[in-house]
Amino acid sequence: MTKETQFSPSRRGFLSLAAGAGVLAAAGAGQQVRAQVATKAHIVILGAGAAGAALSNRLVERLDGAKITIVDGRKEHWYQPGFSLIAAGLKKANYSVSNTTDWLPRGVDLKTEMATNIDPEAKTVALGNGEVLTYDYLVIATGLTLDYDSIEGFEMDMIGKDGVGSLYAGPQYAAKTWEAAGKFAEEGGVGLFTRPNTEMKCAGAPIKHTFLIDDIARRNGSRGKADITYFANNNSLFGVPIVSEKIRMVFGDRGINHEYGHVVKSIDAGAKKVTFATPDGDYDRDYDYVHIIPPQRAPEVIRNSGLSWANKWTDQGWVEVDKHSLRHNRYANIFAVGDVAGVPKGKTAASVKWQVPVVEEHLVADISGTTSDASYDGYTSCPLITRIGRAMLIEFDYKNNLTPSFPGVIAPLEELWISWLMKEVALKATYNAMLRGKA
């Protein structure tokens, strides 16, 4: 080596470099600042889940002086996309649990009660404690209810025992589901994986559970002893035809059987037997493990309010909104967002992420006396796990078109590690950022 002159940075050079980096960081981090709209409007949001929390955080930023009341009697906030991971033993129950109050902005009034009555003519909401709220704008974000009672013979305390699983019921039940599913994955036997015949949140979840338990049985070396069947409620495995076909192929690859047109009607846990309603009549199957997902409906308070569709989903009661603006078809000052909205797709957190800004724009436009052309196109995303370590990042819209976020980079119908990484690492973070109104 010759003299030490080949690379000789100066102090000045270093300082200007550091200063430049600082300016870049400051410029990038600066949020786009929009003028707030001054208003005295009273906005009532029913539900402080994903949609309610995200919307309240965004409205607080957009409106100056608005009175925002958020109604939710549940103390815990559940990160529901985590339930599939909990029910496969990959996460503990507390992975999905936080407090409702963790996510709400300052300046909103939280009523820790459930709504008991909505009167859209009088513009009032009655709460469980007798209090009556009068609103200018109402946003219905209550989520949905799981109708376990409509499955004959099913009791919640069966979950986790004698080969019965149901990961939808909550974080603790997802963990109990793993107790039953994990035993099946070790010992083998007959595994039945089902879904309800109603609209449901995340139609990919029953399929993910099937794939994960298949994979875990494989890792345990007991897959040869396990007979796994997935039961679709109608004649497709997934609402989007191209995805349904792909799932059929992956099922074939994994040796997972599938049946169409099977809906769980009743269960006899003592005899370890389920009865399916099928187009050809009732059909009994014995099981060593059965995964039950109950029918899903709008909460009773919504179904009793006269706000539901009268000619669609009449047994389920989803709120009658325009599928693009999410505004109620008969009451212009009412919106619905999230699982309870009566739109053809979109009962996922990813849909909420796309729906909330649309409702926000329409609300703010109404308040400032203008209009908005913000429109929800049905976007839904489902990182469809096909085994531990791989998933297909499936995104689609109302038209059943695939709408990949990273076209040419992350192929939607390929089983990829990066899609799994997104689910495992980035999804909860993105979800939390969404709750805070930042994503």
Binding site: M1, G389, S405, A411, E414, V425, T430, K438
Partner: protein, 119 residues
């Protein structure tokens, strides 16, 4: 992804690691980088002897980074399913290698300051 801005990215990383840990990690990365520049300026040259050691640490950094990511995400090499997965894997390895090199070089320079005729 909708509105994937720098602000969104920061918010997501804050949620992945927790706000405290994320900014501590950012601070640590900034401090190591600043210390690296500091020793470069102080010594007014790259010490190729130290750089050799730094280079030798790179494969270890690469392997450690990949294993760390796999451990944290219940993954294995057999999960590689397509070209983008290979790119991600290489990206993690390169990041680990460069990080290790900078760290080792800086640590060496700070602990064993350059003597006049080190090079």
């Amino acid at each position: 992804m909708k509105e994937l801005t720098f602000g969104t990215l920061i918010a997501v990383f804050e949620e992945i690691f927790g706000r405290g840990l994320f900014w501590i990690m950012v601070a640590a990365a900034v401090i190591v980088t600043l210390a690296y520049f500091y020793v470069l300026i102080r010594d007014r040259s790259v010490s190729w002897r130290k750089f050799l050691w730094a280079q030798l640490s790179m494969p270890f950094g690469a392997v450690a980074a990949v294993l760390f990511v796999q451990f944290m995400t219940h993954s294995a090499f057999s999960d590689i399913g397509g070209p983008i997965d290979v790119i991600v894997l290489l990206g993690v390895a390169v990041a680990g290698a460069i990080g290790a090199a900078i760290l080792v070089y800086t640590a060496e320079s700070l602990l064993r300051p350059q003597k006049n005729h080190d090079a």
